[in-house]
Amino acid sequence: MGDFVSFLQNNLADFWTYTGFYNATVGHVVMIFIGIFFIYLAVSKEFEPMLLIPIGFGILVGNIPFNMDAGLQVGIYEEGSVLNILYQGVTSGWYPPLIFLGIGAMTDFSALISNPKLMLIGAAAQFGIFGAYILALLWGFDPMQAASIGIIGGADGPTAIFLSSKLAPNLMGAIAVSAYSYMALVPVIQPPIMRLLTTKKERLIRMKTPRAVSHTEKVMFPIVGLLLTCFLVPSGLPLLGMLFFGNLLKESGVTRRLAETARGPLIDTITMLLGLTVGASTQASEFLTVDSLKIFGLGALSFVIATASGVCFVKIFNLMLKKGDKINPLIGNAGVSAVPDSARISQVVGAEYDPTNYLLMHAMGPNVAGVIGSAVAAGVLLGFLV
């Protein structure tokens, strides 16, 4: 009987070493609180819930403590585990292009086609990427890590994940969480910078109504866009190729079912998997480092630089434009590719000063140009450093 009791005691003691309570560290608890905070932001404040709910819950999943020496194959970094298999979409970089396919299928490039000069704002806002790149170099990161951190300034989660999976896989978790967090915080970060850099007169500028865009132009855009951008930067092919393919599905008008799948069930499925696995990749042991804190700091700065450069570029650009063609600098912030949030910010801030001035459709131009611009920038960085 004594043997049996001691057998049970040993078993229970052994079981105890497998539990989360036994293996928990302060890091795990901190990360779990961060995950809960993300979920709170998503549910209560409605900051990018589509991203923050999967990422926040992913953080909880990734930070359930367990005995890592037991070979249970449950952790995201344990080869062959279910989470590890799902995570391969991130590490091999095939989730981001699929997201781009969906983005392409849901994006209307009409605003950009009708007023193509807005594309230049999308290019100017990419200064955020390279401003952060310079700062990251100065802070001691090597060029590949700095490029991965800099891409946060593109405000484009899939691009950030794609590039960091190629250039700095060890920083990918922090970069992805940082990129998505700041994208969610666009309504907080951008308005003060926009107000600071513009005068009241500039905020009241009314832009010319965009002309109607023909079906032929809409069909031509993805084809010409792909050929021009990818001949220039072939390394951007996975992202740009899928973006323009998705857009052609939408605009061709004859592949409605495919376009609906791409912008509906496909992008939803991939967003869930991407968010969950990126969140789960933030295991405390890997994530809670000084580098992560630096990345979060640099990420915030990159968003500030991107917003400021977009707004300032419009102000300079206006000096060269005729009176009736002036651009409202409040759409400069939309050059970062957080679609459509940053365009919405232009509308909201613009409406504060003139409720009858509708900037949303104009802001969508630089917004989608920003998507193209950040994918091109990622391609350039990849081409230069690999």
Partner: protein, 309 residues
């Protein structure tokens, strides 16, 4: 837009396309990468024998199969020996950017990677690699007079165009079944670290590329937009049977702004009996009529209320 301008734009585009096209020779994915003819004390095979060897490298980023390929060797003009690489051996598949080593020991019975010829230790050796369709993939003449025992003749780096003698010195070492030059760093990144430690060069160059890409798109769609407006105007003129351009401009043909089109669309939508946002203040309550069906009848679907008997 004038026709001459359109012509100039198209000519410029064609010129850029044509000048950027360069003739590139067809590249084989499988190449002879390193050859050692006189093996005295170098790498030994799985039988413990020192024989000459030929290393084949897969330049591609995809798996390539050597099965069915031919290795031809000639050390005397007019006398060529051919070794047929057997099919059915999974080991003949070379993973991306990897190597495969063939022993020139004249003992093909020892396995797939043992050839039926021996390399000349003193004279020149011509070695050719052919695919299963008998097309030449790669060839090399190994100069016998340059090589001492245990020295190999190899490409400077894997798949490179230039060859050199690997004499086992510090930077030229014999590398059977492995990279001809060990890559210990990322040269591109190191270049940036040395020449552009602050990142200004990268910023300027990369931003130029981003701007060029989007400026190209801008130019293209500015041109396309103007063409589209012109075509629309021409169609409108045809419909209204107007031939005078000044009159067409005055009447604003083809210049319908988005708001007008939106208003027309809305009017059509409403005319087709669609719902409207602003309701009239007259409230009408209509009796909802539902046709009787025993399937929805409460009499049949409700169970009898329990009662005491």
């Amino acid at each position: 837009m004038k026709k001459s301008k359109i012509g100039m734009f198209l000519s410029l585009l064609l010129f850029v396309c044509l000048t950027s096209c360069t003739g590139k020779k067809a590249d084989s994915k499988l190449v002879i990468n390193e050859v050692l003819t006189d093996n005295v004390s170098n790498f030994q095979d799985d039988y413990g024998v020192h024989s000459g060897w030929i290393e084949i490298f897969n330049k591609a980023y995809s798996t390539e199969d050597l099965a069915g390929c031919l290795i031809k060797v000639s050390s005397v003009p007019g006398d060529t020996v051919t070794y047929f690489i057997p099919k059915g051996d999974v080991l003949t598949s070379i993973p991306p950017r990897q190597h495969s080593l063939f022993w020139a020991d004249g003992a093909p019975r020892r396995g797939t990677f043992h050839t039926n010829f021996v390399l000349s230790k003193t004279g020149d050796n011509w070695i050719g690699l052919y695919d299963s369709g008998r097309s030449l993939l790669d060839e090399v003449v190994v100069p016998g007079n340059l090589l001492k025992p245990n020295q190999s003749y190899a490409r400077t780096t894997d798949g490179a165009e230039t060859w050199e003698v690997k004499d086992d010195s510090a930077d030229k070492y014999v590398t059977p079944s492995t990279n001809n030059q060990t890559i210990e760093s990322n040269p591109k990144m190191e270049n940036f670290m040395v020449h552009d430690p602050v990142g200004v060069g990268m910023t300027v160059t990369a931003m130029c590329v981003v701007f060029v890409g989007l400026i190209l798109l801008y130019i293209c769609f500015r041109f396309v937009g103007k063409l589209a407006v012109k075509l629309r105007k021409r169609n409108a003129m045809k419909v209204h049977n107007v031939t005078d351009k000044a009159e067409a401009k005055e009447r604003g043909f083809g210049e319908a702004p988005g708001e007008v089109i939106a208003a027309i669309s809305m009017a059509l939508h409403e005319a087709q009996g669609a719902d409207h946002d602003v309701e009239e203040t007259v409230l009408t309550i209509s009796r909802v009529k539902r046709s009787y069906s025993p399937w929805s009848s409460k009499i049949y679907t409700l169970r009898e209320t329990p009662h005491k008997k």
